[in-house]
Symmetry: D2
Subunit: 389 residues, 4 copies
Amino acid sequence: MKRFVLMALASCALAIVAQPAAAQSKAKPRARDLGVPFDGTPGPLNAITDVNGVEVGHRTLISGEGKLKVGVGPVRTGVTAIFPRGKASADPVFAGWFTENGNGEMTGTTWVDESGFLYGPVMITNTHSVGVVRDAVIKWQFEHGPPAPLDDWWSLPVVAETWDGYLNDINGFHVKPEDASAAIENAHGGAVEEGSVGGGTGMVCNEFKGGIGTSSRKLSEKAGGYTVGVLVQCNYGIRSNLRVAGVPVGKEIPGPPIWDSDTGSIIVVVATDAPLLPHQLKRLARRVTLGLGRNGSISGNDSGDIFISFSTANAGAGMSKTPAAITILPVEKIDPLFAATVEATEEAVINAMVAADTMTGIDDHRVEALPHDKLREVLKKYNRLAETK
Amino acid sequence: MKRFVLMALASCALAIVAQPAAAQSKAKPRARDLGVPFDGTPGPLNAITDVNGVEVGHRTLISGEGKLKVGVGPVRTGVTAIFPRGKASADPVFAGWFTENGNGEMTGTTWVDESGFLYGPVMITNTHSVGVVRDAVIKWQFEHGPPAPLDDWWSLPVVAETWDGYLNDINGFHVKPEDASAAIENAHGGAVEEGSVGGGTGMVCNEFKGGIGTSSRKLSEKAGGYTVGVLVQCNYGIRSNLRVAGVPVGKEIPGPPIWDSDTGSIIVVVATDAPLLPHQLKRLARRVTLGLGRNGSISGNDSGDIFISFSTANAGAGMSKTPAAITILPVEKIDPLFAATVEATEEAVINAMVAADTMTGIDDHRVEALPHDKLREVLKKYNRLAETK
Amino acid sequence: MKRFVLMALASCALAIVAQPAAAQSKAKPRARDLGVPFDGTPGPLNAITDVNGVEVGHRTLISGEGKLKVGVGPVRTGVTAIFPRGKASADPVFAGWFTENGNGEMTGTTWVDESGFLYGPVMITNTHSVGVVRDAVIKWQFEHGPPAPLDDWWSLPVVAETWDGYLNDINGFHVKPEDASAAIENAHGGAVEEGSVGGGTGMVCNEFKGGIGTSSRKLSEKAGGYTVGVLVQCNYGIRSNLRVAGVPVGKEIPGPPIWDSDTGSIIVVVATDAPLLPHQLKRLARRVTLGLGRNGSISGNDSGDIFISFSTANAGAGMSKTPAAITILPVEKIDPLFAATVEATEEAVINAMVAADTMTGIDDHRVEALPHDKLREVLKKYNRLAETK
Amino acid sequence: MKRFVLMALASCALAIVAQPAAAQSKAKPRARDLGVPFDGTPGPLNAITDVNGVEVGHRTLISGEGKLKVGVGPVRTGVTAIFPRGKASADPVFAGWFTENGNGEMTGTTWVDESGFLYGPVMITNTHSVGVVRDAVIKWQFEHGPPAPLDDWWSLPVVAETWDGYLNDINGFHVKPEDASAAIENAHGGAVEEGSVGGGTGMVCNEFKGGIGTSSRKLSEKAGGYTVGVLVQCNYGIRSNLRVAGVPVGKEIPGPPIWDSDTGSIIVVVATDAPLLPHQLKRLARRVTLGLGRNGSISGNDSGDIFISFSTANAGAGMSKTPAAITILPVEKIDPLFAATVEATEEAVINAMVAADTMTGIDDHRVEALPHDKLREVLKKYNRLAETK
C-alpha cells in the first residue's frame, strides 16, 4: 500500500508509473514459497515463459487518488501483451479457445476458430479499452511488426479484458494507443511480473486483490517432456467460494463484502510446445474450467471466463504457401497435458493473489491483498501446509 | 461383495436380478452421513427427484461370474431412465447440453440444440447398448407412451452411456429392448437408488466402484426458492486425482491401479424447476465441469463427460400450437442456480462412490468400494470431518 | 414403378429384394446426361468414390404393398454404408461435421469433434433404425473388422438418418442387424447406385422421389489436383422451392402436395483427398449449406440437415503411438475445395432425384419421380438446357 | 462516378462528405424496379426498418483521390449503426448469431451467446476501425445513452466489419470516435440508404461495387403476420459465381478481375418482430447462408461471413428484475420466418449492388457498378425478367 501512496504522490496529474516491480519481483514470495501444495512439476520459472519463445510485456497505469472524476482518475489499469513466438516473429501458432462464461470480450476469435491459427499477440486490458488496444495492435503491426504472412494486409487482433471499474476510472478511457505499443515493446522472455501489473493492475479476485499470475508444468520425458504454461488475468469470484489447495480459505478469512454476486472475470492464456492441432488446443482451453473448479469458482453470471491456448510447435506451418509438413500428438498421449493445464491454472490464480498488494482506487475503494501469514495459518489448520525450502 | 456372490449363485445362466437394493437403500449411509462436508442446502431427498415431477427408473443386469465368454457373461450392466415430467407426460421440457470431453455418446442432442426442447426421457446405459436402448424408447413411446405432441410421428431419443467393459461382457450385448422398457416402467418419484444399479451397475469411478449418484440443492426464498437436482452415472477418473471436499483422498487411500490413464466417462443430468430457457440451461450444463473440478477431475481423453440439463418450469410451452406465454429468469438472478449445480454435482459423485459396493466381474476383475471408515479417517486427518447427526 | 410392382409380386411376405438396380444403373441417365448445367469438373465417376479408397454399400429393403400394418409392412427402407478407406482398414480419417438444422440424428459426433477423427464408416438409414444399425456396426467391427487402433476395445459409430415414414412402415423396425452388416459387406469402390437404394429407398425430396445421389469435382493441378466427392441421402424440401441450375423447376412442375411444410432431412457426406485438418473439414461441411441454397432449400424446421466431411490424406496419423508427421493445406489454398463442395452438393441432390423412380408405399402413398422430359423442357424455357453428348 | 469526383473536388484535404445520397435515394431504382424476380412479399419499405422500432444510421467518409498516402487518404469508408428498438431505448432484444466463415470480426458475441440478449446497437465499419467504433459506442452510451439496465455500468458493444482496403486508406485509421457517434445520432426509422454509404462506403461485392443493402418480408396473417428485415454490408465474392434470381449474371457480364480469390466479407443483420428466443434466433442467422447460396456464394476463405439476428418482441424481458412473462413461437411455426430470411437476404445483396455507384479510390482503383441495363438484358436472355410497374 505504501508503495502506491508514494507513487501517487510522485505522479502529478496523469503521470504514468512504469513497471517498478521488476527488480523487486524476485524477492516476492509466490504461492509455493508460502507452502501452498500443488500437484505436478513446474518448469524452471514456473511461468508461461517456460514455453520456449513466449514473451510477456506489461504496461501499468497508476495515477491519482481519491474521488472519481471521470476522465481524470484515479487510474488503476494497464495492458498486458503475450507473444507466442516473441514479438519479432510473424509466424502464427495453432490455437483454440473456449468460453466458460461469456460476460466478457475476446476479439479475433472467429478467425482463430476458422483458420486454426493465432496471428500476433494476445492482449489483455480493461473492459472499456479493448477497442483502443485492438486498433493499436494493428497500427503497431503495420508500422513496426514483422512482414505479414498474408498478401493483402489486414489484421484481426486478439484482445481480451476484465473489468476494473471498482478501482479504476474505467469510463475515463485512460489506456491510449501508446500504452498498447508499450506493452508490446516491453514483451520479453524470462520471469513474468505478477500481481497488480499490466492489464491486471486494477483487478479483484475472490474479493482479494487480483491481477496477473502465472505458472507452468514440465512433463516427464516419458510423457513427452513438453511444457505447459498458463497466464491469468484474474478478477473473478466471491470470497466465500475460494479454495486454496482444496482448503476453504475464503470462508476462513472472512472480510467485508465487495460484491453481492460473482462479479469479475478471468482471462486465461495456455501455452505449450506440444505439437497440438487447433481442435486439440480447444481441449486444453476447456480444461481451464477444471482448474478454476479446484479453486472453488462457480463462474458467475457477471464473469467473463474466456480462455485461449496455443502451441509453439509446428513453426512455419502457417507461413507456408504449399502443403506443410507438421506433427500431431496422438490422441492417447494428451492426458498429461490436460493435467498440466488444470494444475497450472489452479496455481496461476493463487500466484496472482499472492503477488498482488493491497490497493486503493476510485472513491477510496480499497481491496486487501490475500494475507500471507493468515493463508499459511489456515493451510496449517487443515494440515495442508507444505514444507518450504 | 457377498451380496453379489449370492446373487450369482442363485442365478442360473443369464437370469436377471432385478433391483434388489430398493428396500435396503434407506439404510445405506450417504456421503453426508459419513461426515463429508458440502456447501449449500439439499432438498428433502437430496436427490434429483426433489425437482417436482422428475422420475427415475433402473434396470440392473447382474449374472454370471468368472472368465469372460462373449455373449454369455459375466454380465454387470443395466439401464437408467430419467423422466423430467414423469413417464405419463408427453410435454417436453426446455433443455441444454454440453460436452467437456466427447469420448462418449449422447444421442438426440442436435434436436435438443435446435428445438430447445427435450422430448421424452434421458436414458443411460453402457457404451455398446446405446442403439438398442434408443430404438426401444421409440417403440415404447409408440406403443405405450402418451400421445405425441407432433403430427407426423417420429422420435429422436436422448440416450447416453459410459463404458463398463472392465466388469461387464460389453461385447455380448446383454441389454435387450425389454430392459430399456423395464427401466422406463420402473421410473418413479421419491428416493433414488444409488451405486451399482441401472446404467451404473458396472461402473468404476476414480478407480473405486462407481455408478449412480444423486444430490440436490434447495435455494432460499430470497434466491427464488428453486430446486436443482443432479444425477450422475460416474465412471471417470484415476485415483490419484480424487479430492473429496478438497481433501486429497485418492492419494491418501492408494490401491492397485486399474487404469494407466483416465478411462471412463461421466454422464450428468441436471434438473431444475427454475424458469430457464434453453440458452440458460446450457449455462447450467457447463457448470457441471466446475463440480467435477472440485473433485479433482482432469476430464481425461478416454472420458465421455457429457452433461444435459432441463427445466420443468413452463409446462405446456412445447405443446402449444400458438405463441405460448412462458416465464424467464432474469440474467442477474442465475448465480444461485450455478452454485447449486456445482455443489450438487460435487456431492452426487461422492454419493455414487459411497453407495457402490465392491464388485467382481469378468475375468475376476475386482473393483473395491471407497472404504467408508478410511474416508472418515482421511477427512479427519485434514480437519474436514463434519459432525453427523 | 413397374419395376417395383414386379418386385412386390415376386416377393412373398417380407422377402428382401437385394439391390437389383446394379446392372441397369449404367444405362440410367444422370442429371448431366439430361442437360442440366453445373459448374466445375467432375471426376471420372462423378461420384464420392472418385476419392481414392472410398467404398459405398447399400442394403435395400422393399416388400409388401397396400395398407400399413405396423410390423408387417409395406417396407421401403434400407441402409447405406460409406467407408473412407475401405472396409478393410481400421485407419481413421480426419473429420468434421456441421448441422444446418438439427431435426435429425448423427451419432458419434461428439467423439469426431473431440478426437478430430472418424473411426469406421458413416452409416445412413431411417430415423427409427439408427439404434439397431449403430450396435450392429459395433458387432461387425468386433467380429469381422480389422484390428482396432485403440487398446480397450470400444466403438462410437457414426450413424445418421432421414425419415421414410410416408412410404415405409417405419415403426415396424424392419431394419435388422444383418441388414447393417449386409450394407457393410456390399461396400465397394467404383460406380455408386443412386436413387431409391440403401438408406435412401423410401425418401422424398422436394416432393419428388428422392434417395441417394452423388457427385464429385476434380481440381486443376494448379489448385492442387485434389478430388472432392459428395454423397447425399436426400429427403428434404417442398416442391415450390426447388431450383435446378437456378431455374425455378419446382414452380414450373406443380403437383399434388405431399407435405404442408418442409418435412424430411438431408444427410450429406463430403470426402476429399486434400490434406485437411479437422477444423478445415468443419469448414467444408459448412459449405454444404451453400449448395443446398443453390437448389432453393430453406432448411425447414422438420429437416435434419446434418453434414460430415473427411479427408483420406494423412493415412496412419490416427494409428501412430508417437507424434505423427502429417501434411496440412495452407489456409489460402482452400477456396477451390469450398467451390467443389458447393458444386458437388448441388449436383448430387439433382442426381438423386433424377435417378429415383416413382414409388408407392404404405397406404398406397405414391411419390412421383422428377419427370426427365418435363425437366428438360423447363430448362429449355429458361435457356439453361446444356448440350449433351 | 461524377458524384464522387465533385465530392472530391469540393473537399479539401480530409473534409468529410456527410450522407449526400439521402434526397436522391428515393429516385434510385432497386432490384425489383429493374425487374429482378424474387420470392415472397416485402414490407412497405422493403427494408429492415419495416420491423417496428428498428433505426439505421450511416456516417460516410469520402475524401481525397489518387495515390495512397497512409494517414492522408484517399478515404472511402464509414460507419453504420442499427438499433433494434431505436437509440432512445436501453431495453435489450433477444439475439443469436452465426459464422459461416470467420475471417472477420464481430465483437460482443460471447455475451450475446451467454445472456441471449443484444444490448445496444449493431455497428458495422471497416476491419481496422472496429476498435475505435467499439470504445466510442461505450462512450456514447455512458454520456448520451439511456439509463443502463445493469447495476455496475459496463458495456460489451457489438461491432462488425468488412475490409475496404482496395478503395480506402484502411491503415490510415480515418474513422474517429465522432464518426461512430454521428452514425448513432443519424439513426432513424423509415427508408434506408443503400449502396456506398456508411460502413458500406468502400465495399466490393462479386467484383462489382457493393455496400449496404436491405430488404424485408411480411408474412401472411395465417403465418403470423410477422415481419423479417435484413440489412447487409456486402463485400464478398468473385464475379464468376454471381447468380441473380438463379441466372448466371456474373458469367454473362465478365469484367477485369479485381481479386484472385473470394476476398471480402459480408455482415448480415436479421431483424424480426416474431417472438423468437435466442436459440431460435440462431436458427434464423444460420438461414442467411442459404440466401447467399442462392446468389452463388462459396463463402471463400478470405471472407468474414458473420450474421446476427434479433427479435423486437418481448419488450422489457431484459429489464425485469423478477421472472418475466414472455412469448415463444411454437417450434412448428418457424418455417415462414426461415423462408423470409433466405429470401430477404437474397434480395438485400442484389439491392446493395444495384444501389452502389461506380467508385474510384486509392491508387485509382476503380470498381464498376453492376450495370442496370446489362443486368436486365441478361435476365431477359434467361427468361427471368419480371414485369415492372
